[in-house]
Symmetry: C2
Subunit: 177 residues, 2 copies
């Protein structure tokens, strides 16, 4: 097998369906971190409610936060699934489904990137308005946006972790092209 | 070299520093599309100005659009650079710097994903307000957000193209792990 490949001018590369133990362990640790960050971000944003003159301001009232929460929920579910698979892989010493890791990590990291962008976009511009206007000191709307800001920051960290995971899963990808 | 690797229990895979002609051509076409989409998106957002009662509303007044424009500018510059390198690679039949492609495409696609998220986040929620309020029929602010929406849609398409490029460059990545 190896000899025939070495003889061919442009041989299809052998597909090494394995990754080293260290990369599996690194993946496991990063997946734990991503899951924890996403879970806290989910709780902070999901419980973000504020009363203004008998009516409530909730994160659902702003479409950007709805989208942000959707990405967090999908990210958390995916992290939990991958965490279970990672633990199994580290214990058994086997590789998981490398193609699932590659496309899963890529898709989820893009989702989290867009969710982070959406979260910060709506928060930063609205905070500028509410922080500048003294009216909002009384009705305490600032706390609502501070919490959203905290949630977006956690989501940003979770995105960075998932982007690192995506780099690792790209390196362990069996070659096709 | 090939024999010693075949004998080892967990050998480092050989690094095939090449990609097929078809993948190079596909990359070139995708890079042309990405560049055109980003350029139109840049023009649409960059020229988005509106007069309201002697004062001007420009995209710079909204931080989310500033961020969005930054990602578009960086994306356009990167696309142009990669386009030049791609043409050179197709003509010479050689591969470019695969590691630059991999990390470049990854970084730029994340940037465009967050820019798309930011653009849509601020546009969708503001459009809901301005479309519902009859006051804005007179001062024509809706056109401003319609243009921003168009720019964000083009950016979304450009992001999709860059994400595809990132998948291709992951497959042509020399393995390390």
């Amino acid at each position: 097998m190896a000899e025939t490949e070495a003889a061919a001018p442009l041989p299809p590369p052998p597909s090494p369906f394995y990754s080293s133990v260290s990369s599996r362990l690194a993946s496991l640790i990063l997946r734990i971190i991503a899951f924890i960050l996403l879970l806290i971000s989910l709780i902070v944003l999901g419980t973000n409610t504020m009363e203004i003159n008998q009516s409530k301001l909730r994160f659902q009232d702003i479409y950007a936060y709805r989208y942000m929460l959707s990405t967090i929920v999908i990210g958390t579910a995916y992290s939990l699934l991958q965490l279970a698979l990672s633990i199994q892989n580290v214990v058994s010493g086997q590789d998981g489904i490398l193609l699932l890791n590659f496309f899963g990590d890529k898709l989820i990291s893009y989702l989290l990137a867009s969710g982070t962008g959406a979260g910060f976009a709506i928060t930063v511009d609205t905070k500028r308005l509410t922080d500048a206007d003294p009216v909002f000191e009384l009705i305490d709307i600032r706390e609502f946006y501070d919490k959203a800001y905290a949630s977006a920051s956690l989501l940003l960290l979770a995105f960075c972790t998932t982007a690192m995971l995506s780099i690792i899963s790209s390196y362990t990808l069996p070659k096709r092209v």
